[in-house]
């Protein structure tokens, strides 16, 4: 907690000591909090926030899950790695801009669109990290499990995955942030609700205070996500790491 407080204090100070115009583009923490408060009481934020939250949660969990599965397969069976690896690395760099038209055609313009953008974003990092983690498991343990009569599946679930947990969670922690980051871009083509839409509106209205309030919401959300991932990871690994 302390570092965060320090950080905020720093922010306040820097902002207050700022050059002309700076004050507007980089308002002090206190102001933002005030604005945030107004936004919350006025109820504008809550609604948008929850819609975004739901989109993020769905996209995130779906994307991470698929990424996880594919990653496990790639890390586990070298053949699959060789097969999908190149294709993934071809698809990976396609930005939202590239996906939008296709998605528009496939899923239409509705809640699914931003969700699927979040999905795409979450997929790759989890996939890559999981694969690395799975590959990293020492073959000795796998051999031991084999001799104990564990089937490949059993080995996967009771040996490989538990040992790959740290990497998997790194992936999750990464995409937790990205999901919140990309929801903005995702909601650029959507039903005009959600924190992204709010942000765009504020953006085009040039309302810096609202923008920063939204960003703070993002930050806090990502922070919470990260916390609980850390919590779960510790729960899963602390006893043997």
């Amino acid at each position: 907690m302390v570092p965060i407080l320090v950080f905020l204090a720093l922010w306040e100070i820097v902002a207050r000591l700022n050059v002309v115009y700076g004050h507007f583009f980089f308002p002090p923490f206190s102001l933002v909090i005030r604005e945030l408060f107004y936004l919350i009481v006025s109820g504008v934020l809550a609604d948008d926030f929850f819609r975004s939250l739901i989109r993020v949660l769905i996209g995130f969990s779906a994307g991470s899950f698929c990424g996880f599965v594919v990653g496990v397969l790639m890390g586990w069976k070298n053949l699959i790695d060789k097969t999908f690896g190149p294709i993934l690395s071809l698809i990976y760099p396609i930005p939202a801009l590239g996906w939008l038209p296709l998605l528009m055609l496939w899923v239409g313009i509705g809640d699914i669109l931003p969700i699927s953008i979040v999905f795409i974003t979450c997929f790759f990092p989890v996939c890559y990290n999981t694969a690395t983690g799975v590959k990293g498991v020492s073959p000795n343990y796998v051999a031991a499990a084999r001799t104990l009569g564990a089937s490949e599946i059993k080995i996967l679930f009771s040996v490989i995955l538990p040992l790959a947990v740290p990497n998997i969670f790194t992936g999750l922690r990464l995409v937790a942030g990205m999901a919140w980051r990309v929801i903005i871009a995702a909601e650029m083509v959507a039903i005009p609700t959600g924190i992204g839409a709010l942000l765009i509106r504020a953006e085009s209205l040039m309302r810096m205070d609202i923008i920063i309030s939204c960003l703070m919401v993002l930050s806090v959300m990502c922070f919470l996500f990260e916390r609980c991932f850390n919590y779960f990871e510790r729960k899963l690994t602390v006893r043997w790491r």
Partner: protein, 334 residues
């Protein structure tokens, strides 16, 4: 329980190995470090590539994947699962073959008592001592009651009494359940004590397979005799009981007194380390002491092998280098 048969098995560490371990036999695999013991076990367990073929009960299982071979394997580097507690480690094999929970717990308890680690049930391998880890690994290998047991130096880091206890336990288990076992060790006493038969491996080649007596009394080649200390084998021509449990043995002009173990003596083996050379007669009674001529010496970094001529025997003695120096021994000395 199946019998294990290896036919022309070859890989990076084994060269054309033929071996048959009879059903319910406990075969000790004895060999110096780097001989290929672990590799051989890995082959039987189906963990590494090899040419040639491995048969259980005459059926080739080269294509059978490891986890169907039903072997219990105690790895030399124990490979305990770091993320599982001791009890979970032991239970792993049981869970893998779908043992009902209550049986599992019972079996795990039993195993932990067998290897005397009841008190560590909830520890994690990281927090165990070397010997404790080894015992956990042993328990883990035994727990699923495998048809074949591969033990790679199972007692190497246990103290005498514990290992003695476990040797007896293993013996007992083997008697009771007759699990076909390959038992790797580099300890000759262990080998002698445990083995129905012993097979000696050297640089990936099986030199000799036979009963302990076989191996130790007539090693079939130089390497073995060197490995087990190349005893000087003396044919016993005729022996005279001195009473008080001693026998005097006449063998081509030498008479040697040995304690009598009640049974008739045909051969005696004197290991080079047991031959002491000194220039001037040492104190004490003059027994088993002869004048010898040094025929030749093979100095090595720290040990010197010395071929002695005693009567019309030629014996091989082994002396620490420094002894050799201080005695200033040379070929031809008296």
């Amino acid at each position: 329980m199946p019998c294990i048969e290896l036919r022309g098995v070859t890989n990076f560490a084994c060269r054309d190995i033929d071996l048959k371990v009879e059903n319910q036999e406990l075969m000790v695999l004895l060999g110096p470090t780097g001989a290929g013991k672990t590799t051989l076990l890995n082959i039987v367990a189906g963990l590494i590539e090899y040419e040639g073929s491995v048969l259980f009960d005459g059926v080739s299982i080269d294509s059978t994947s490891c986890y169907l071979r039903g072997v219990g394997y105690l790895f030399q580097d124990l490979a305990l699962f770091p993320h599982l507690s001791v009890s979970a480690n032991i239970a792993f094999g049981l869970k893998a073959c779908k043992t009902p929970p209550f049986e599992t717990t019972a079996r795990v308890k039993e195993m932990m008592q067998l290897v005397r680690i009841e008190n560590l049930a909830h520890r994690y391998p990281r927090d165990l001592s070397g010997g404790e880890q080894q015992r956990v690994a042993l328990a883990r290998a035994l727990a699923p009651a495998p048809r074949i047991l591969l033990l790679d130096e199972p007692l190497s880091s246990l103290d005498f009494s514990t290992s003695k206890y476990l040797r007896m336990e293993l013996k007992r288990l083997h008697r009771e359940f007759g699990v076909t076992t390959i038992y790797v060790t580099h300890n000759q006493r262990e080998a002698k004590e445990m083995g129905d038969r012993i097979t000696v491996i050297h640089d990936g080649v099986l030199d000799q397979t036979g009963s302990p007596e076989d191996i130790f009394f007539n090693p079939q080649n130089q390497r073995i005799s060197e490995f087990i200390g190349s005893p000087n084998i003396l044919e016993c021509e005729h022996s005279r009981d001195l009473g008080m449990g001693l026998v005097e043995i006449k063998t081509r002009g030498l008479s040697i007194v040995v304690p009598d173990d009640g049974q008739k003596i045909k051969k005696i083996a004197i290991s080079p380390q047991d031959i002491y050379i000194s220039a001037n007669p040492p104190p004490g009674p003059d027994i088993n002491r002869f004048n010898a001529t040094i025929v030749e010496m093979f100095p090595s970094s720290s040990l010197t092998k010395i071929r002695l001529k005693v009567g019309d025997h030629s014996l091989l003695a082994e002396q620490p280098a420094e002894v050799v120096e201080e005695l200033g021994l040379q070929s031809g000395d008296e």
